[in-house]
């Protein structure tokens, strides 16, 4: 059994604990044991901290990485934002020894040192590269009969030249993993567009952020999908909580269920929507819950 440290981030444990739980159980079933990363802080949010002060960002992010270094395992995130922050910090400090010296001065104050011994992993690229689409397919007991809109999210694939995840414009790894569960990934307009949350936009310019989310939801709805699948609690929150805000602000009601990939995978493995926390979304779509409860013939 492989081992990884599980970097929870902020949103998953506080707002969507279902994502955290779903991740733990599906990874365990795939033979990956997730260990708690004790003492982890905020990643910190890449759009905000990195934009304002590089050294502060690097110090905070590298501390989280060091915790995992000390455990001697690679670090796993289920969040694009955490991934963006941690993987970039890890890469920068592995390559730029001058900067590493600077950061280690700060870390020394808390008795730690960045050594550059581990990798930062995102659940999607980990599943695709290390577990493999075939193994995921084998784990499916009940094919998930849903039409879904895949939302990659920005930090997962960009900056593309550092991610090495294939085509920037037409990536396929997420879709392949979705289709491995038996679901159909439906092409929709502006599939790679941002959800609108990141870069501090949701915090500072909510209306602009919601307009972007609304476009995303409109396009997914137009493609006739059952739900949107993401791999990031912040995108998840933006598209889920955002729907209630959009309804209030603009009067548009989508009723679009939002599912994290670990939850979708869990459905195929035979877990119930309740076990996976899919019913804990803000958007209440009973028809959808009823539909996914029937996966595998109601078991």
């Amino acid at each position: 059994m492989s081992e990884l440290s599980f970097f929870l981030g902020c949103i998953a444990p506080n707002r969507y604990p279902g994502i955290e739980k779903a991740t733990k159980i599906v990874m365990e079933d795939l033979g990956v044991h997730l260990r708690e990363l004790k003492g982890a802080s905020c990643c910190p949010a890449p759009g905000v901290f990195r934009s304002f002060d590089k050294l502060t960002w690097l110090a905070l992010a590298s501390r989280n990485v060091v915790l995992s270094e000390e455990m001697g395992v690679d670090l796993l995130t289920v969040c694009n934002g955490c991934f963006g922050s941690l993987v970039d910090a890890n890469n920068v400090l592995k390559e730029d020894l001058e900067l590493r010296k600077e950061v280690n001065k700060v870390l020394a104050e808390v008795g730690r040192e960045f050594k550059g011994t581990i990798r930062v992993r995102h659940i999607m690229e980990y599943l695709y590269d290390d577990v493999g689409v075939e193994k995921v397919k084998e784990s499916i007991k009940y094919p998930v009969d849903l039409k879904v809109a895949v939302h990659y999210g920005c930090h997962l694939i960009k900056p593309s030249k550092e991610r090495h995840l294939g085509s920037i414009e037409n990536p396929t790894f997420f879709d392949e993993l979705v289709e491995a569960t038996g679901a159909e990934s439906v092409m929709y307009k502006d599939k790679n567009a941002c959800c609108g949350a990141g870069g501090g936009v949701r915090t500072s310019a909510l209306e602009t952020a919601l307009k972007l989310a609304r476009a995303k939801l409109e396009n997914a709805k137009a493609a006739g999908v059952d739900c949107i699948v993401d791999a990031c609690p912040f995108c998840h929150l933006q598209m889920d909580v955002g729907q209630t805000e959009i309804a209030k602000k603009f009067g548009d009601v989508f009723n679009m269920p939002i599912v994290h990939y670990s939850q979708l995978l869990g459905l195929g493995m035979g877990y119930t929507p309740q076990e996976l926390g899919i019913d804990m979304n803000y958007v209440k779509n009973d028809d959808f819950i009823a539909k996914i409860e029937k996966i595998g013939g109601g078991k």
Binding site: I168, E169, N170, Y188, K189, D190, A223
Partner: protein
């Protein structure tokens, strides 16, 4: 030292290589023009129109192609590549690999019979893969050399051993499947690298979705616009429908450090504007939009062109760089999302077609060639040169020009090419004429007293003519025409053996006039004229009747009518040839000295370049010191002081024994023409010269009335430069304002140099004191080409750039500058300022009108001198023997001025290097008895060939002084304008006399050979 070789190898047959070749060949040096593709012409041959005049690209280029083809001093090595270069300056061995074309160029007549039978279809490079060609092909209709080539990779016979159709149908046995690549060593004294660029391939920039059939590159769009392109000039979408909305995306593959291409490509803003305008001319319903970062309309006439596109044509210029192209997954509709300038909004707009304005990138072959030549490259893959020696590479004797050095447009490339030719010429000046062979001809027979005895050759042109026109019937008819003593049919009149037959027939039948009825005189007349000379016949006793283009091709569906028309066309030619007179060229002695007006960096370079070639040179400077405008600036963009280049140049000029410098002197009077100018200087001295270069430069405009100029702490860039050098800039907050007095109604042009100068100085200010706040207020940042790196560096150093528009200019107050920043949603800023620096445009100096009048050359509305052709003759005047260079033509940077200076010197030396000036046989002559001296001829002549001279007329009754027209045979082009204009019929245009033309018209009207007498 090894012996000097009077020959030059030029690598690359685009417009740069062509220009270098022609200059050197005209100067008496042997030229080997090496081109890797089957035809010369380069990218310019693919372009539809050229900015900013919308001239047809091919129409201006193809005469140059033909000139190269028939120049006796140029040996063309097409489909060839340089394999190695050894030796040293003055004596190089260049090994050239001649790739097998599988077609014998001496036998192929490009009849195209093989084309129809070739079964292998290949994507056509000339049309950028938007159409198909055959495996045996002519690259494009105007190709030079005009011979077929087999694409070995796609030829079925060469790849599979089957087919062989082309060999079967070729009636001249030109196909040779056994042909092999072979190496050839040529000995030269100098090498010029001019292999140009390749268009950037946008495929790696996935976000622009080049794979979508209606997302095309700008060069593909040129082919779509071109009448010779895949859709005959009708711009079409992939589904065959007509686009209603087209967008251009600028800077694709340029100004993008992410992909290692940080620099500006210098030409894309203008070609996109041109493409939009031409597309709208094709279809007046079409809507166009150009998405840009800055519109870089910096060249001569560019800003005016841009304003015309924006204001008259309503091309939308949208200042935004969309991050990608969106494609609707269901409908495949293209759309663009962009920031709306001056607001927080983003817009999404649908387009039918998107053109990617791809940049210029060094070609792989250029990189390979640079390695072979051993010349240093810069970090961007360009051949490295310096500001003060822009054509000189790191290897002595090897020069570079055009886009192999940096991205540049056609006129800059042409100037560069002439400049490189000048450099090569300078080191080989002593060897002029040593490797060129004069052709010898038998003595000419006197036919003036003879009755016309006309021979007519009617050409089948393979089946080009014969499949439509009944050639035997035409031959029989021709035999019945007056004075025709012999007529015969020939498969290919132009093949080498056929030319020998023509000579034999002239002998055998004692012919004294020849008509060939075949194709176009544009390509073939010189060939047949030469054949006539070879048989002792004056070349002007020849006439070409075009029965291919005018009969067989345009009337292919009506063979009978085509045959009738062919008979008529030949009848007209026979009527004319009977009346033609033998004409002779004259060789005139002339003055070989050069004159340069203006002692700035341009004038000094030009003088040195002429003097280096061994000619006496006069350099006239109005000021008391040499150095010109550059003396008012202190640093170059590369960080060197201006004196680092000025001081050695001034010393070189003063110490050159061939140069006589007159400072504090003006040229007050000029008379004469090319070869025999006489001038009078302000000090009373008289000089004689054969050619002149005007390099009178420009001054920095004094921006009186703009942005508070004149008040304390408001200065211009040149003053700032001086203060920087003295270390007397005492300011923490500096604001620079661009276009101070430029790009407005009074001076509608862009001064080209100011953005680069401002950015250069902003960097100096910041490096001087990093705590300084520098603000550059601009309309468009035009740091074109490689100078984009200065702009990037300035931003990295923290210089702030803020955009304003012409209708909302910054206001300079007391200690503040107020600006509404267009990039930050029209936010108004009040900037505390200690020093305001105005970037004022360069303007023409006083007195340019006088210089223009002296040489009868034109100036434009901004008082810059007007060149003969804005694209292909950037340093020539229409007036022979007079040239221009540097800021006198338009504002430009130092390296560009130097390039033009060398170019003008090269052009002048093509004249000065000749032993004698040879006049054309076809020219106008004046009958003084009839001339009334009205001077109308002097007004209409575009070349200033006629002048009025005073003559004394002596008759029995009275003796008086009157004026008579005199046409300078060295200048006359024989165009006939004066003859048409002359109210008394005193001027005869030789070879096109009224009588000769009337005969042609009569022969058209009367089938019986009647000729109406004309006066």
């Amino acid at each position: 030292m090894a012996e000097l070789v009077g020959a030059v190898a030029i690598a690359g047959g685009g417009i740069a290589g062509i220009q270098s070749s022609l200059d050197l060949a005209d100067s008496g040096l042997k030229v080997y023009l090496i081109e890797s593709s089957p035809s010369i012409g380069g990218v310019m041959a693919q372009l539809d129109k050229t900015f900013p005049t919308l001239d047809c690209s091919m129409c201006t280029l193809s005469p140059k192609l033909a000139e190269v083809a028939r120049h006796p001093n140029i040996e063309l090595l097409p489909y060839s590549e340089i394999k190695s270069i050894s030796g040293a300056a003055g004596n190089f061995d260049v090994t050239v690999t001649r790739k097998a074309t599988y077609v014998d160029p001496d036998k192929c007549t490009a009849c195209e019979l093989c084309l129809a039978k070739c079964p292998s279809k290949v994507l056509d490079e000339y049309n950028e893969g938007t159409s198909k060609r055959k495996a045996i092909y002519l690259p494009f209709p105007q190709a030079v050399p005009r011979v077929m080539v087999i694409d070995a990779e796609h030829c079925i016979y060469l790849t599979k051993g089957k087919c062989g159709n082309c060999k079967k149908v070729c009636e001249n046995d030109a196909i040779d499947y056994e042909m092999k690549d072979r190496d050839e060593v040529i000995k030269v004294g100098s090498v010029i690298l001019s292999t140009g660029f390749k268009p950037y391939d946008p495929t790696p920039l996935e976000q622009y979705h080049y794979e979508h059939p209606d997302v095309v590159t700008s060069i593909e769009f040129e082919r779509l616009l071109s009448a010779s392109g895949p859709s005959e000039g009708h711009v079409q979408l992939a589904d065959g429908t007509t686009p209603k909305k087209i967008a251009w995306l600028q800077c694709i593959g340029s100004r993008n450090p992410e992909i290692g291409r940080p620099n500006c490509s210098a030409v894309c803003c203008m070609y996109a504007t041109k493409e939009a305008m031409v597309a709208m001319e094709h279809d007046n319903e079409l809507e166009t939009a150009i998405f840009n970062i800055d519109v870089r309309a910096f060249g001569k006439g560019f800003e005016q062109f841009y304003q015309r596109a924006k204001n008259e044509k309503e091309v939308r210029f949208i200042r935004s760089r969309p991050s990608g192209v969106d494609i609707d997954p269901v409908t495949n509709q293209l759309s663009l999302r962009y920031e709306v300038e001056g607001s927080t909004e983003t817009a999404c707009e649908e387009f039918d077609m998107i053109v990617l304005s791809i940049g210029l990138t060094p070609s792989d072959s250029s990189k390979k060639l640079a390695e072979i030549a051993g010349v240093e490259m810069d970090e961007y893959g360009n051949v490295a040169t310096a500001i003060d020696a822009p054509m000189t590479t790191s290897v002595p004797g090897i020069f570079a020009c055009g886009t192999i050095v940096a991205p540049k447009d056609i006129p800059d490339t042409v100037a560069d090419a002439s400049g490189a030719a000048s450099k090569a010429h300078s080191i080989l000046a002593s060897e002029r004429g040593t490797l060129v062979t004069e052709r010898t001809y038998p003595p000419e027979k006197d036919v003036t007293a003879e009755e016309p005895r006309i021979g007519v050759v009617v050409c089948d042109c393979g089946i080009n003519i014969a499949s439509v026109v009944d050639v035997p019937a035409v031959v029989e008819y021709v035999k019945t025409l007056p004075h025709v003593v012999h007529a015969y049919e020939q498969t290919y009149a132009c093949s080498t053996d056929s030319l020998d037959i023509i000579k034999e027939k002239i002998e055998e039948h004692d012919l004294n006039r020849v008509v060939v009825a075949s194709c176009t005189p544009r390509t073939h007349e010189p060939l047949f004229q030469d054949t006539c000379r070879g048989a002792g016949l004056n070349p002007y006793l020849f006439e070409l009747a075009n029965i291919r283009e005018h009969c067989a091709w345009v009337h292919q569906k009506e063979p009978e009518k085509a045959t009738e028309k062919a008979k008529e066309v030949i009848r007209m030619s026979v009527a004319r040839v009977a009346l033609l007179d033998p004409l002779y060229t004259q060789k005139l002695d002339f003055n070989h000295a050069g004159l340069v007006i203006g002692g700035g960096v341009t004038g000094m370079t030009a003088a040195l370049d002429i003097a280096e070639k061994g000619f006496t040179t006069y350099l006239i400077e109005r000021e008391h010191e040499l150095g010109g405008l550059l003396r008012t600036f202190t640093r170059l963009q590369d960080g060197r002081t201006t004196s680092e280049i000025l001081d050695p140049m001034i010393a070189a000029v003063k110490s050159n024994p061939n140069i006589t410098v007159h400072t504090g002197t003006t040229l007050d009077e000029v008379e004469g023409a090319m070869g025999s100018f006489k001038g009078k200087l302000s000090n009373g001295e008289e000089i004689e010269f054969g050619s002149a270069i005007i390099a009178t430069g420009a001054n920095e405009f004094v921006p009186e009335g703009y942005f508070g100029y004149g008040s304390e702490n408001v200065i211009t860039q040149s003053t700032l430069e001086v203060k920087l050098e003295e270390g007397t800039v005492d300011a923490k907050n500096v604001v620079m304002i661009q276009c101070a007095g430029g790009r407005n109604d009074e001076r509608p042009y862009c001064s080209r140099v100011c953005c680069t100068t401002a950015v250069k100085n902003a960097i100096r200010l910041k490096e001087d004191d990093p705590e300084r706040n520098i603000y550059v207020l601009y309309r468009d940042i035009r740091t074109y080409g490689v100078w984009e790196e200065l702009y990037t560096r300035a931003r990295e150093l923290g210089v702030l750039f803020m955009r304003y528009t012409e209708d909302d200019e910054p206001i300079v107050g007391n200690g503040t500058v107020t600006i509404t920043d267009k990039l930050l949603n029209d936010t108004k800023f009040e900037i505390a300022t200690d020093l305001t620096v105005l970037s004022a445009p360069l303007v023409a100096p006083d007195g340019v009108e006088d210089t223009a009048t002296l040489f009868k050359v034109p100036i434009d509305s901004n008082k810059f001198f007007l060149e003969a052709h804005i694209k292909l003759r950037p340093v020539d005047f229409a007036t022979d023997g007079v040239f221009l260079a540097g800021c006198a033509q338009a504002p430009k940077l130092v390296d560009e001025s130097i390039s033009q200076a060398s170019a003008a010197a090269s052009r002048a030396c093509t004249i000065l290097a000749k032993d004698q000036l040879e006049t054309s046989g076809v020219m106008a002559v004046v009958d003084e008895d009839v001339c009334i001296g009205c001077g109308r001829c002097t007004e209409v002549c575009a070349y200033s060939a006629p002048t009025l001279k005073e003559v004394e007329v002596v008759t029995e009754e009275i003796t008086y002084v009157t004026r008579k027209s005199e046409i300078n045979p060295a200048i006359c082009k024989g165009c006939g304008s004066c003859a048409a204009e002359c109210p008394t019929g005193a001027i005869t245009s030789r070879h096109f006399t009224t009588k000769q033309i009337s005969a042609v018209i009569d022969a058209f009207a009367y089938a019986d050979g009647r000729i109406e007498e004309v006066a």
